[in-house]
């Protein structure tokens, strides 16, 4: 089975597609972690929210593309409110407390979604434009999944050039590298963090809408993907864009092939991968070189 080229090609594409979603989800987590040593455990909840808001928008407007454009904005707004109301208030407290607060929000988000959209799982139809399928080595493969892969690559490129070429990108890089010095020379790291945080939330929302036609939408869809995203951050190395991309690729592939070859042990293999990276390279595969420790 493993040596069948068609099978391999299809699974490779599936792996790429999952990697693409994971990248959208984990890049925000990772960069914020690099900037503030803080991890938003409710990031998966924002992803779920993106999917559900997308669902409602599609139902209301009958347009996938409208949902595709608006749901991320809505999620970014939720993230901004959350940052202003809760995180900013907790800035003086330790990052641990912030992390714990976001953990509490997972419970809140889960039941809110159940209350608003119900307990049942829903499916989102792919837009007409991408509803068909293409031939891959004699097998049909949904066009939409190729679109997901392409989207991940586009976002990666946009972020890469954004970080390298824009002023905000420069501030973010300086902040991840050495926050104290960056602040000391007058860069507004706080504001950059806020923008990055909101942008990360928007990407999580985008991942949610985009996942709609591929994975089913149900309360609890947040936690399994959150775990995968956390593993991506740990494996790739927090704070690094390339790390998030490489981590997403690795985790996406291991998870996809694991589920096909030995579904019982897929999660164990992932966990072993993470443990291995932590033991051999505690800073992740592509660690950010910090000026201080």
């Amino acid at each position: 089975m493993l040596l069948d080229p068609t099978f391999l090609a299809i699974q490779l594409l599936n792996g790429l597609q999952l990697a693409s979603l994971l990248f959208l989800l984990s890049v925000g987590l990772s960069v914020v972690f690099g900037l503030m040593n803080f991890i938003n455990l409710a990031h998966g909840t924002l992803y779920m929210l993106g999917a559900y808001i997308g669902l409602s928008l599609v139902r209301a407007t009958d347009s996938f593309w409208l949902a595709f454009a608006l749901a991320p904005l809505a999620v970014a707004a939720v993230g901004a409110v959350f940052h202003v109301v809760l995180l900013r208030r907790m800035q003086a407290a330790s990052p641990m407390r912030q992390v714990l607060a976001t953990f509490g929000l997972i419970f809140v988000g889960l039941d809110s979604v159940r209350y608003i959209w119900g307990d049942y799982s829903h499916a989102l139809a792919a837009p007409e434009l991408l509803a068909g399928s293409v031939q891959v080595l004699g097998q049909t493969y949904p066009t939409y999944r190729l679109f997901v892969i392409g989207l991940g690559i586009i976002v990666l490129l946009v972020l890469y050039f954004g970080l390298e070429r824009t002023r905000l990108g420069a501030i973010v890089r300086a902040g991840v590298d050495d926050r104290e010095t960056a602040t000391a020379i007058g860069l507004n790291v706080e504001r950059a963090f806020f923008l990055v945080f909101c942008f990360g939330c928007a990407l999580a929302g985008l991942a949610g809408v985009v996942a709609g036609p591929v994975l089913s939408i149900f309360p609890g869809m947040d936690i399994s993907i959150l775990i995968l995203a956390l593993i991506v951050v740990v494996v790739g190395g927090p704070g690094s864009l390339k790390g998030a991309a490489l981590g997403a690729l690795l985790v996406g592939m291991v998870e996809t092939f694991g589920q096909v070859i030995a579904p019982e042990y897929a999660s164990v293999v992932l966990y072993a991968l993470m443990a291995l990276v932590l033991v051999l390279r505690p800073g992740g595969l592509i660690p950010v070189s910090k000026a201080h420790g």
Partner: protein, 318 residues
């Protein structure tokens, strides 16, 4: 002025009296609740040793709790060990698993530790959810409680079993109280406060943290084993992140680093869950909000209030 320890012991005795009074007055359902409280107290106290004393906030502690339950079921149902032997075996399994996970996890700093423990817990959950040998998402049922008919009492009687669980909770409290007062326990607190300084004073920090992690894993497994015998049934539900989260909420609401706070928190949690779930389907929403509130505003939870009273009285006496 009475010391912190004396107050803690006093609070513990008060809690025990409250437990015994409610045991006398309880009906069938009351005994079920009391059993749940005692088991959650054991589980939460083991987490308090990690989170409160050593400063290792684990979001995957349910992994060891669930492992204890699964090991009990496996030993009892598949290997046909006696319930007591299965329980002892479960504790060993919990300790060994914690030793393995801890051997790399304890080296990680706070936020990394949170992420990794959460991931480990979910990985184990995902494995058991799919494993055919352990019944997948249906779980396993038919786990036996110890047979004590020879001494004329039956563990199948809810009143007896709830008393046994309260007894176990007392035992674990006494054990942990001894540990946190011991030189080892005091060093755990010092590690929490300033790890690099303890290291410079000659303490092999990771080894001490690993010892605490292993002990906590073993105790969590004992709580899991009692749950398996209580329900006569286990499922992957025992290992979900929500179980870990509830335990952490119990510890934080009760007051980190106080042991009795965790026990009191367990009482509040079980009763609140019991009453809230009767009123609304969405009690997790309120629990989550409450949790955020406690993290935000109430630094030291229930025990923080008791401790403030102690200091007030102590200050007045001077």
């Amino acid at each position: 002025m009475m010391s912190r320890e004396t107050w803690r012991a006093g609070t513990a005795i008060l809690l025990l009296v409250a437990a015994l009074v409610s045991w006398v007055r309880a009906d069938y359902f009351g005994h079920e609740l009391l059993t749940q409280i005692a088991i959650l107290a054991i589980f939460a106290m083991s987490l308090d040793l990690l989170a409160g004393f050593t400063g290792m906030i684990s979001l995957g502690h349910a992994a060891f709790y669930g492992l204890g339950a699964y090991a009990t079921a496996a030993f009892n149902l598949m290997l046909e060990w006696s319930p007591w032997a299965a329980m002892a075996g479960a504790v060993v399994v919990g300790a060994v698993a914690a030793l393995i996970v801890g051997s790399f996890a304890v080296r990680l700093s706070g936020v990394f530790f949170i992420m990794v423990t959460l991931a480990v817990g979910e990985a184990l959950h995902a494995y058991l959810f799919k494993s055919r040998a352990f019944g997948g998402d249906d779980g396993l049922s038919g786990i036996a409680r110890p047979d004590t008919s020879s001494i004329g009492i039956s563990f199948d009687d809810p009143a007896v079993f709830s008393l046994v669980c309260v007894g176990f909770a007392c035992l674990i409290y006494a054990l942990l109280e001894l540990v946190v007062r011991s030189p080892f326990g005091r060093l755990l607190v010092a590690i929490h406060l300033n790890p690099s300084r303890v290291r410079a004073l000659g303490c092999p920090v990771s080894r001490y943290k690993l010892a605490a992690f292993t002990l906590a894993g073993a105790i969590a497994a004992l709580a899991g084993s009692l749950t398996a015998q209580h329900n006569a049934f286990i499922s992957p539900e025992l290992l979900t992140w929500t179980t870990s989260g509830e335990a952490l909420i119990v510890v934080i609401v009760g007051g980190l680093g106080s042991l009795v706070g965790a026990a009191a928190g367990a009482g509040v949690m079980v009763l609140a869950m019991h009453h809230l779930s009767g009123v609304t389907d969405y009690w997790m929403f309120f629990m989550g909000l409450f949790f955020v509130g406690v993290v935000l505003f109430a630094g030291n939870g229930i025990y923080g209030v008791i401790d403030a009273v102690r200091r007030r009285l102590g200050g007045a006496a001077h």
